[in-house]
Symmetry: C2
Subunit: 239 residues, 2 copies
């Protein structure tokens, strides 16, 4: 799990620290199966979770039952540090794979931050990074074609997943999503996602079928997704 610091920040030591602080003060451990909700929309949310193992996603529900996927979180992520305002979560968190989480009561944060003053700033850093990621996704969805949105999402997930297992070198991976997930994350119908994926396969860019993703032509994919290198770099951060 060796990881080199990205740029000037050199912030990894803190990321490790917050994980170990949560580890040291955790009051519970939660194991969930794929498809199960860790937090359902409307649940009381007085707990912070540290995702030890697995993939989960954050989602909101609309009046008419449609689902918007807001964020995919990989192991190492800190979840549920939102609340602050209301006592119930507006969003849900659902497992994509079998996952394990450690729980920390929200009210222990303030005393904790007295002993470890860096904890607060580190949480701020994590939240700010999420915010930036969300800004990027917002831009992608607001301004991009369907092809670009799908390419961007798959590239993001590929890069972030790869960063966790750097020993892996192949352009092939298990991505625990359905086309419906992709649609809910990009704001497209799953039918249209399917058509876009077909086109991407026919064009020799990538192949996604039953949760198996193959990058056929990395350069073309990056060009299709129309990513700034700066962005790709920020995806390498721990989440």
């Amino acid at each position: 799990m060796a990881r080199r610091g990205g740029g000037e920040g050199l912030d990894e030591p803190w990321a490790l620290e917050i994980a170990s602080v949560i580890a040291g003060h955790r009051v519970g451990e939660k194991d969930v199966r794929a498809g199960q909700d860790i937090i359902a929309p409307g649940d009381p949310c007085d707990t912070i979770y540290h995702l030890v193992r697995g993939w989960v996603f954050l989602y909101g529900l609309l009046q008419d039952g449609r689902r918007q996927i807001l964020h995919f979180a990989l192991s190492g992520a800190v979840l549920g540090a939102d609340l602050a305002d209301s006592g119930t979560s507006t969003y849900g968190v659902q497992a994509l794979t079998e996952s394990r989480l450690w729980a920390l009561p929200h009210k222990s944060l303030r005393p904790l931050s007295r002993d470890h003053p860096e904890i607060g700033l580190e949480l701020a850093r994590l939240a700010a990074r999420d915010r930036t990621l969300t800004y990027d996704r917002l831009t992608s969805i607001a301004q991009g074609s369907a092809r670009k949105r799908v390419a961007q999402l798959l590239l993001e997930l590929f890069v972030r997943a790869r960063a966790q297992w750097p020993e892996q070198r192949r352009q092939k991976m298990h991505l625990p999503l359905t086309q419906e997930h992709i649609g809910d994350a990009t704001g497209l119908t799953s039918v249209h996602v399917n058509r876009v994926l077909s086109a991407l396969r026919d064009d020799g860019v990538l192949h996604f079928h039953y949760r198996r993703l193959t990058i056929l032509d990395p350069d073309r994919l990056v060009k299709t997704a129309d990513i700034e290198p700066r962005l790709a770099r920020s995806w390498l951060g721990r989440h």
Copy 2:
């Protein structure tokens, strides 16, 4: 400027505190005119700003020159607490009105948070609230019709602006935006924004013309925007 705490959180005292801490440690004051950049995309960003007076917006630029407005900030907001990773800002911040800001060097944060351990958590709270706001905007843009997106944006801005001057009671206000700004924020062309605004006026919902917004029928507006009451409440938070 009396403000009652929203729900269980009762967090306002902290919000005041961070402002006063920045006030006490500020190293500079910056006045800008409408249309001027406070931070241009690509600028080095080693400074945190506290917006004392005015409206500003956060934006990103795409390869092809299009602009995506990410967030509108009102007086009281804390800006530029992102960076952390790279030394240059991916985003720009531009003034919508004449504005005044106080500046705080980013590197004084860590020592500051040692003296005031709450500062870190408070910054985390602010960033998390921004993140939540961005999640809502993301959902709006990804899933909503043009009519809904425009209604939602105008309602959000109306509510947030009203919360700052509670003495105001009229359904009429000065909103320092052009239809182009609305388009860049909602991911629509300004031409189409115009058509949507016409329809909203013809339907007696609202009237927006040359930076003057009139809410004609608040209930219809809320229904058109399809907002959960919970959301509207969270917009009342200080920004």
